[in-house]
Each structure stands twice: as C-alpha cells, then as structure tokens.
C-alpha cells in the first residue's frame, strides 16, 4: 500500500515535465487545480474516455465525434449532432489551449474546466446520459474501474470522470505556429503578405487586437461583435440575466482558426473570407455591439494579407492532426 503510493508519487514528479514541455519558455504555463494535479495516468484515462462512445446514452457519440483531432479538435459542421441526431445551438470550438480558459463555454457559464465534461455528458442533445447512470456504467467495467483506481486512488465517481477528461484536455497545447516562430525571431517564418496582414490585424484602423490580444489572440472578455439584430442564443445574458449582455460571447482564440471553419458561436459564417466580410460590411449595430469594432474597408491585397496572417496562426502539430 505504502509502496505503491510512493511509486505513484515518484511518477508524478517525473511527469511534471509533461505537458508543460509543450509550452514554450516565453509563454506562461497554465495553472492546474491543486486537487487535480496532472499525471500521465490521468491523461491516459482522459484520452481513453474522450474517444469512448460508451460514455453517451446509446454508446454512439464520443467527445471526439464533435472535437476532431485533425480539425484542431473542432468540427466542419455548424452544429454537430449528438445522440439520435439531435442538435444543440452552438458550433464546437477548438479545444487546443483550453487549459488557459478563465471561464468555460462561449457564455462562460461553467466555472472551471474540471467540471466542464458534465455539460456534453448530460446534455440531451449531446451525450444525453445522467452522470449518476454513467458512474454505474463505468464502475461495472472492470477495466475502467481498475484504470480509475490507478489514476485517482478511488473507483469511478462523479468527481474523477470530468477531472480525468479535463486532465487530457489540458495536454492539448498549440504554440508552434509560423506566427510563434516569427515572434521568436525567425523572420523567414512568415511570408511578406502575412507580415502585412499581421500589421493590419494589430493596427488601430482594424482594431482586431482590442479583443483578439495576447498569446491566445483573445482577451477572454465577453463581447457582442454585431452578428445579429435578434439573437436566438442570448449568449452571456443566459448566465448573468442582464439584457446588456445579450449577444455577448467570449472572444475566441484565433490560434488554428484556419482549421476550425465554420465560425462564430453558431457556425453561421462558413469561411474566413465571410468573417472579414462580416467585420467590414455586415455589422448589425445591435444595441450591445462593442464600440471597439471599427468600420473599415480592405482592398483585395489587404484581404489576401489578412488571410495569410490568420493562416499563419495554425500550429504545425495541429495542422498534421498530431496533438493527442
């Protein structure tokens, strides 16, 4: 008993290097809750659960059904169906760098990554199974029971199911794009066009970086970016109950954005071209629309430059579907 515990501790130490090793030196490491330190055993378990259809009611849908490894853990469909072909309201976001999120989901409704997995597990349009039933199901599987006990020192329960999944999600790190290489001094990493696009993106004229700033190209605030006049999905207001928050969604990270079409909370814009059109010509002027949004007009070359810049945010591992 004591012996195995000591061994477990030892492994934890050695493992501390991973996945922090994926975070470059110039980027602040993400934080891990004190009650759920990362270990390889948890990450392995989380990876297995992530790809496990049996954690849905009829054993047809896994996390990977909506968060696809070769699409930066997002999906090409606007709304990916869950069990029985049912659909919710939102487009699956990329999970890369989710370890850095200060609040979870597009409306920030979930307080921490460690309990996020209960959303898809219990949502009737996604996996549709009560966590209480899922605990019984996994406990009845000797193999999972053993793996949970090895990773958490206790059998399957409602505490460690979402925490194992969160441990895996924390390892999905992506800071290896041409843009990173360029920022770190490799001036050949970006084309001339992408360099011009970068300047446009960070310019006062476009003002994109007033919201899409920092290492993740998001300040993680909730903003209304003028998508609609009438929001059927109220966004942040669903949580705060404040009408001033209608149509506000968390500013998404733009890392790997070229891999994650379609765009916006509902996947209503099909391409980056459409996104640029939106910001130039289609702002709705909703009462909550952010005053940070500028009216601007890009010529054809500038559009190309912006596209080149946004494409330079694709990590090389993500591009090859290698994160796991």
């Amino acid at each position: 008993m004591l012996g195995s515990n000591a061994c477990y501790e030892g492994t934890t130490q050695a493992e501390m290097i991973f996945p922090y090793s994926l975070v470059p030196e110039d980027i602040t490491p993400f934080e891990v809750p004190a009650d759920n330190p990362l270990t390889l055993a948890k990450v392995d378990l989380g990876r297995r659960l992530f790809n496990e259809p049996s954690i849905s009611l009829d054993s047809t849908i896994s996390c990977a059904s909506c968060h696809k490894k070769d699409l930066a853990f997002a999906d090409t469909l606007s709304i990916t169906p869950g069990i029985h072909g049912l659909t919710g309201d939102r487009n699956p976001p990329s999970l890369l760098n989710a370890a850095y999120l200060q609040s979870i989901n597009k409306d920030g409704g979930v307080a921490k990554l460690d309990i996020q997995a209960l959303v898809p597990i219990e949502d009737e349009n996604e996996m549709g199974i009560s966590i209480v039933k899922l605990i019984d199901r996994l406990q009845a599987d000797p193999d999972y029971s053993r793996q949970f006990t090895a990773a958490y020192g206790t059998d399957v329960n409602g505490y460690n199911i979402p925490r194992a999944l969160a441990s895996y999600v924390r390892t999905l790190i992506s800071f290896d794009s041409p843009y990173d290489a360029y920022t770190n001094g490799d001036i050949s990493a970006l084309s001339q066009s992408a360099i011009k696009g970068k300047a446009l993106f960070f310019s006062d004229r476009l003002n994109c970086a007033s919201c899409h700033s920092g290492n993740l190209l998001t300040n993680q605030s909730f903003q209304n970016n003028g998508l609609y006049n009438n929001y059927s999905d109220l966004g942040r207001a669903l949580i705060t109950l404040d009408s001033a928050d209608v149509g506000k969604f968390r500013v998404p990270s733009l890392r790997n954005v070229a891999l994650t079409a379609p765009y916006m909370h509902d996947g209503s814009l099909n391409s980056l071209q459409e996104v640029l059109d939106h910001y130039q010509h289609n702002l709705s002027g909703h009462t909550n629309q952010s005053p940070q949004l500028r009216s601007f007009e890009l010529d054809d070359d500038e559009v190309q430059d912006m596209m080149a810049f946004l494409e330079s945010l694709t990590g090389s591992q993500a591009k090859r579907g290698l994160n796991q």
């Binding site: 979930v110 307080a111 921490k112 309990i115 966590i131 209480v132 409602g158 925490r163 109220l234």
Partner: protein, 248 residues
C-alpha cells in the same frame, strides 16, 4: 495499568450515555420530539401523481419531475425559541423525507422562515462543487439532476412534464421549468400555529395550481424556461411561490 484505566473510562461512558438515553426516551412522549419533514405536491386539491393526466389551466398536462431546494430553515416556537436547521438543505420531492438530527421541545411552531434555492457560495461551484459532494448530500449529483451542468450552480426548483397541444388529450409536448441563479433565490416566511406534540411530521406543500396560476400552456413561450432564456416566466413563477407554498 493504562488498559485498565481505559476500560474503566469506557464503562463510565457507556453507563452515562445509557442513562442519558433513558432520560431522553422518557422525555420524548411529553416534552420533546424529533421533527421529520415531507414534501407534498398538490394539484386540483389532490396529491400529484406522476404520469397522470390533469386538467390544468384548460390544458391536459402530466408531470414527471418536481423538486426544489429548501435552505436556511428556521422555525420559531411560541416561546420565542428558534429551531435552527439553516445548516442543512432539504431537497423537496415526492417521497423524500428529511429528519432533523436533534429533538426539540414540543412547543407549537408559530413561524417558518426559509428560502427556496441555494446560497450564493454553494451555488458558485468555484470551491466545493456538486461533483465533490457525496451522493447522500442533497447538493450532490442527482438523477434527475438538480445541478446545472451548463451554468454554475443549481436548479433551485425544477418541474418537468408534458402538455397536449394537438387536441388529442394526450400530453406529449415537453414542458420544463428550471429555475435558478442567485437573483431568483426566494425568501419565504410562513406564519402558523403548528402543534408538534401529536404529529411531528411537517409537510411542505407546493400547490401546482397556484404555482402555474394564469399560465396558458398552449403558448410556446410558456412551455419552458431555463431561467436565462425566458427570465420573465421564471420570475413570474417564483413570485407565485408566495401563494403556492404552505406548511402543514
């Protein structure tokens, strides 16, 4: 030596506690009682039965889930003493029973003060969350769930069922009323004159007719609220609790 001392101490404790027990047991008939709590749901002056079809506000409806949280419970007795159960949460639901841990003097209860909901700290899920609570805890994970997975916190009150909308008298359009969020916590104060000497099982009664007073189930906007998506309806239903709740 020490062993003997321990043994003696043990005997003393056992003897004392049995004395204590005896005294208590003797007492209970006349001076103190153990309170139990049960939760009744009433519709058309009858006990609500899940799955049964009822006429309600000119619609055919049936129900399958009815739960709410009672917190901060304090009961004032005729002599001014306060029975304080505010450290506990009572999950009200058909068939649920909550038993107070300690006996109380059997003086009449003249006032019930409580809230429907969950206090802000427990509701925030930032420290202790529903996954870290044991399944026996009223605030732990339940099926049907009282935790909100997509929003931090709990459904303070949850009623689910079905309504007939196509005129075949079969309720098959889902209706769901999930009400929560800190601003919707509802304080309730009920005066009473409850003698607890004969019947120490207190019944919290939710009258479904009063709760849904004036709600036309044929109107789509009245068929569901998850609070934020239909705040007006959630607020209206919460305001009905004043008349819908009683204690017997």
């Amino acid at each position: 030596m020490t062993k003997l001392k321990h043994a003696l101490a043990l005997i003393a404790v056992v003897a004392l506690s049995s004395l204590f027990f005896y005294a208590c047991g003797d007492d209970s008939d006349s001076q103190s009682v153990l309170l139990d709590f049960e939760f009744d749901f009433r519709i058309n002056d009858q006990k609500l039965v899940f799955g049964q079809v009822y006429d309600l506000n000119e619609s055919k409806v049936s129900f399958k889930v009815a739960n709410y949280y009672i917190g901060g419970l304090q009961m004032t007795q005729e002599d001014g003493a306060v029975i304080d159960l505010s450290a506990d949460y009572l999950l009200a639901g058909p068939g649920n029973i909550f038993s107070a841990a300690e006996k109380v003097p059997n003086n009449d209860i003249v006032k019930f003060d409580f809230f429907i909901g969950v206090d802000e700290a427990s509701n925030s899920q930032t420290e202790t969350d529903f996954t870290s609570r044991p399944s026996t805890d009223p605030l732990g994970m339940k099926d049907p769930s009282m935790h909100w997975n997509w929003n931090s916190g709990y459904k303070f009150l949850r009623v689910d069922g079905e309504v007939d909308t196509d005129g075949d008298d079969i309720p098959d359009t889902p209706i769901a009323y999930h009400i929560g969020s800190d601003p919707l916590l509802k304080n309730v104060s009920i005066s009473s004159d409850r003698d607890i000497s004969d019947d120490s099982t207190i019944h919290f009664v939710l009258d479904i007719n009063e709760f849904f007073a004036g709600v036309n189930f044929q109107v789509v906007e009245n068929q569901d609220t998850h609070t934020g998506n239909n705040l007006e309806l959630a607020q209206r239903l919460v305001s009905h609790l004043d008349t819908a709740l009683s204690v017997e």
